[in-house]
């Protein structure tokens, strides 16, 4: 996946616990854990807004785009 979730990094930088953030956003800790692991299909603007509000950061601090290498997942092209 080209979109990387860096929420765990921001949580560590702000010294915030996942439980506190989950309570502020209004989602379960398990869903927050899935989000941190990047195992979700999407993030609502509402959730993103609440995260940025609580962690005092920008969406770009949480999400990053890292293109997959061209040959990722396929064999040697030769």
């Amino acid at each position: 996946m080209a979109i990387i979730v860096r929420l765990d990094v921001m949580l560590a930088l702000r010294k915030v616990r996942s439980k506190a953030l989950a309570q502020h956003i209004g989602i379960t800790e398990s869903n927050l854990s899935l989000l941190k692991a990047g195992r979700v299909r999407g993030v609502r603007f509402e959730t993103l807004n609440a995260i940025c509000d609580y962690l005092q950061c920008q969406p770009g601090d949480i999400l990053a785009y890292e293109p997959d290498p061209p040959n990722a997942g396929s064999g040697d092209p030769d």
């Binding site: 927050l32 979700v40 299909r41 999407g42």
Partner: protein, 164 residues
């Protein structure tokens, strides 16, 4: 669980009790009708014989009621899943499809069985189709459509759950 979801669960629970009550009433009424009508005693309940001998009419009525009861049983199981917040799960859709199929089968038995039996016994062809039969047939087809919609809704629910 949202207020709307709680309301749906309560409604499903009441409907399930209504379904079980209806199944019980139907069983008692059918048993009374078959036993009393065919023993020659006067009865409040009656079985439409469709011009068939009593034994055959009783068999048709029992089969039709049996299918409806099996359908109600499936509907009750589906409603139990709705109460457990699994309205869009594959088992719920399966139970609804079975309910629709059994309802349709009951109508078809009620309409076609007397015709087939008359044709066999008397070599006479007579098809009687009541508007209530047509309506039940239409309702069962609508239930099939609803079960397809539930299948589609399950996909949307899965999408929704994977978006935080």
């Amino acid at each position: 669980m949202t207020d709307k979801a709680i309301g749906i669960v309560r409604f499903a629970r009441r409907l399930r009790f209504a379904v079980w009550s209806l199944a019980l009433l139907l069983t008692l009424a059918a048993a009374a009708a078959i036993l009393l009508n065919f023993s020659g005693k006067p009865a409040g309940a009656f079985v439409d014989s469709h011009g068939l001998p009593r034994a055959w009419a009783a068999r048709v009525a029992a089969t039709s009621v049996g299918l409806v009861l099996a359908g109600l049983f499936e509907l009750g199981r589906m409603l139990r899943l709705v109460e457990a917040d699994a309205a869009f799960s594959p088992p719920a859709t399966r139970h609804l499809k079975r309910f629709a199929a059994l309802l349709m089968a009951a109508v078809l038995v009620d309409v076609l069985a007397p015709t087939i039996i008359q044709l066999t016994l008397y070599s006479a062809l007579a098809l009687s189709l009541a508007s209530s039969d047509m309506l039940l047939l239409l309702v069962s087809i609508v239930f099939f459509l609803i079960s397809r919609l539930l299948d589609a809704a399950a996909v949307y629910q899965e999408d929704s759950r994977s978006i935080v």
